[in-house]
């Protein structure tokens, strides 16, 4: 009996050793189970909060106007006071249902008022429930465009319109990426290229069009929504993928079990994600509606892809 216990102990110790021996480019946090609910207003920051780092929050599928959206927004504000992030990227479905002015107020301006009052900027992309004229709304910072780019420190963001990925947009993202010298390149758009959500799942046609461009020009991180869950993936072709589609909506217990692409997942409450980028490291922390940290870790900047090889000229 004692021998058997010792054997089990040895297996556990060796197993822990294997996890701790993962190289830095691998995911640090495999899966952190939600902790006990913290006291209201209490925050537990897992980010290093380094000087001159780029800090932002990520939300997706948020614009319901219902109580859970307001509760997530309250947690975001509590964390902002400590983390000091100054912008939010939105994964689409910013406004569900009707788009009358009172809806914009109830589904966006009111829940995020403390953040807006603190000067936090929101950078939206369009989901399938959004209206094209959201591009004209100043607080979404889209400048009338369906797809656009902006820079923050060493990071360049590419907000795409995955509802309508036509030839013009594919040309645009190719040109933008080929001309970008940013250390970190982050794309975000509504429909996920990878997802274990059972309700929707990945958009394979979009993946087929975008992945070759992302791989060729060294995209580092891709953020999406659409499936109403949180999911982090093992790197695909060296690119880090996150899905944050539950900042207002939620599909309870919707994640496929036994997935071999999932690094972490959470589908029993709403979440938002915090990101800090400093030098070659990206730190992330995903927080639930009730303030529990459901996932956190650090990712290493990937090496740049090799420069395109010029076609060899034939020698006569």
């Amino acid at each position: 009996m004692t021998r058997r216990l010792l054997a089990v102990f040895a297996v556990v110790v060796i197993g822990c050793g294997v996890v701790s021996l993962r190289p830095p480019s691998q995911l640090v946090a495999i899966f952190a189970a939600p902790q006990a609910a913290p006291a209201p207003g209490a925050v537990s920051v897992k980010l290093p909060l380094e000087q001159k780092s780029v800090r932002f929050a990520v939300i997706g599928d948020n614009g319901t106007g219902d109580t859970p959206q307001y509760e997530v927004a309250a947690e975001m504000e509590a964390y902002r006071k400590v983390v000091g992030y100054d912008f939010v990227t939105m994964m689409g479905d910013n406004i569900y249902g009707s788009h009358k002015p009172k809806d914009i107020e109830r589904k966006f301006e009111a829940p995020y008022k403390p953040l807006l009052d603190a000067g936090v900027k929101f950078y939206a992309c369009l989901g399938n429930h959004d209206d094209s004229n959201e591009t004209l709304y100043k607080l979404f910072n889209m400048n009338g465009q369906h797809y656009y780019s902006f820079k923050k420190g060493d990071v360049q963001f590419f907000a795409l319109d995955s509802n309508y990925m036509d030839a013009k947009q594919l040309d645009w993202i190719t040109n933008q990426l080929s001309g970008s010298s940013a250390k970190w390149k982050i794309a975000y758009f509504h429909h996920p290229l990878y997802s274990d959500g059972r309700f929707h799942g990945p958009d394979l046609d979009l993946r087929k069009q975008l992945m070759p461009i992302f791989e060729k020009y060294g995209m580092n991180v891709v953020l999406s929504g659409h499936d109403h869950v949180y999911e982090r993936f093992k790197p695909e072709e060296g690119i880090y993928f996150f899905l944050v589609g539950n900042s207002g909506e939620l599909r309870y217990h919707n994640l496929r079990q036994g997935s071999n692409i999932m690094a972490a997942g959470f589908d029993t409450d709403r979440t938002f994600m915090l990101v800090e980028i400093s030098g070659d490291k990206l730190y992330f922390q995903t927080v639930s509606r009730t303030g529990q940290t459901v996932d956190s870790g650090a990712l290493q900047l990937q090496p740049k892809p090799p420069a395109p090889v010029q076609a060899l000229q034939q020698v006569h």
């Binding site: 004229n133 709304y137 009338g144 509802n163 309508y164 990945p202 958009d203 046609d205 087929k208």
Partner: protein, 192 residues
């Protein structure tokens, strides 16, 4: 020997007939696409007229201003095309071309991907009868368009877009949220 030459001649004749017919089809489709481009350009001219005197609320914090702009633009476009009806831009031959283009895309190597993309993007059901010149129903989601399908359809100016509502393909003015034209019952053939 003579028999073999005869067979060869017949085969060559059939092949050239097929190639000529295919080329004629391509030329005919290109001509139809050009007509559709012209009708689209005509709509854009009319739209430009409607925009005259309207201030586009670029970067406004006021959702009311955006809603007013949308309403006014749609109203002025309606005033400029009061007799607009189904088939004005999507004429019978244009609708036929679109049916062929969709069928080609769906039967091609990406057909299965396109179908899956449609299904996973939340297909729009029950949009009701969509009238030309009507406003796209407030609150009804917009069906995402699979990229491989879009790449097969004629390009549009950025103010216009194709969207499926059930089996209807609509041409939508994005800022006016106006239904410019409709192809009813665009059938999606089974993929390979």
């Amino acid at each position: 020997m003579m028999f073999r030459n005869g067979i060869l001649s017949v085969a060559l004749f059939l092949l050239s007939t097929f190639l000529i017919a295919s080329q004629q089809r391509v030329n005919a489709d290109a001509a139809i696409a050009a007509k559709f481009d012209q009708k689209t350009a005509d709509y854009m001219k009319l739209r430009q007229k409607a925009l005259n005197g309207l201030a586009v609320p670029k970067n406004t914090e006021s959702p009311e201003k955006i809603a007013d702009f949308q309403k006014q633009l749609a109203g002025k476009i309606r005033d400029l095309r009061p007799q607009a009806k189904r088939g004005d831009l999507f004429t019978r031959e244009v609708a036929g071309l679109f049916q062929r283009l969709v069928a080609t895309a769906m039967r091609g190597k990406d057909g299965a991907l396109i179908r899956t993309s449609f299904q996973r993007a939340e297909p729009i059901q029950g949009g009701g009868h969509l009238d030309v010149n009507a406003t796209y129903p407030d609150g009804l989601p917009l069906q995402s368009m699979p990229p491989s399908l879009l790449l097969n359809l004629p390009r549009l100016p950025k103010e216009l877009e194709y969207r499926f509502v059930g089996r209807e393909l609509i041409l939508r003015d994005t800022q006016a949220s106006l239904i410019v034209d409709v192809i009813p019952d665009l059938r999606m053939p089974q993929t390979k």
